[in-house]
């Protein structure tokens, strides 16, 4: 399942949903708001294009790796330190594919999915430059 939401979500529920008799390993990446001297952040998205792009990335992962499931939830809107930003859950027969696919997906998200991050600090606000700008 691919979701972009303004609400908090539960990474544990994603792991639970990935349990399947053909699956031996589930790898989850949970991104949270780190305190880099900020007070809060704000995530903005081009929602229709982001959902489409997340679907492309999921399909790429499913075709490149021997995995059974990919689930992605990305939060948008105002977030505080420690809040969940994204959770990616990959279920696979064997752990190596689950690790590789999960890392592939988060790398691709940071390259191509239209989501932007604005950091608010005591001194002001700034848009975070992309890793691939």
């Amino acid at each position: 399942m691919i979701t972009i939401t303004d609400e908090d979500f539960d990474p544990g529920a994603c792991i639970d949903a990935a349990r399947d008799p053909r699956v031996g390993g589930i790898v989850t990446f949970t991104g949270i708001v780190r305190d880099d001297g900020i007070t809060s952040i704000e995530l903005e998205t081009y929602r229709e294009a982001a959902l489409q792009e997340l679907g492309v990335i999921r399909d790429e992962a499913l075709s490149r790796y021997d995995i059974r499931s990919v689930d992605i939830i990305h939060r948008v809107g105002p977030l505080a330190i420690g809040d969940h930003i994204v959770v990616i859950t990959v279920g696979a027969p064997h752990r190596r594919d689950a690790f590789d696919a999960c890392e592939y997906i988060i790398d691709r998200i940071k390259e191509t999915v239209p989501i932007w991050k604005k950091e608010h600090t005591a001194e002001g606000s700034r848009w975070v430059p992309g890793e691939h700008s």
Partner: protein, 92 residues
């Protein structure tokens, strides 16, 4: 013809989130950017460099498909197209 322009992040802050532009038939991306840039200096600076070239880092989508640098000058827009402009992404 009516073209919908959507802008995100810093581009949204400068040119506005969503707007309907009325452009001559056969217009492309440069004409659309020219219309946006003509409004004020801040928009012009955001979209064009000192030589009047479209700034390198702007990303374009037409109807939610990426338009690469090489197609920027040649693509022709059509009635009802949705053009999105935005800076490099930073999600995840």
């Amino acid at each position: 013809m009516k073209i919908t322009v959507r802008a995100f992040a810093r581009f949204r802050e400068v040119v506005g989130e969503i707007q309907a532009l009325d452009l001559p038939e056969g217009s492309g991306i440069p004409a659309l950017l020219g219309a946006l840039a003509s409004r004020n200096d801040e928009s012009r600076d955001l979209l064009f460099d000192e030589q009047g070239m479209i700034r390198e880092h702007i990303i374009f989508m037409v109807n939610r498909k990426r338009v690469g640098r090489s197609a920027l000058q040649t693509i022709i827009l059509a009635e009802g197209d949705e053009v999105a402009i935005y800076p490099p992404v930073a999600g995840g």
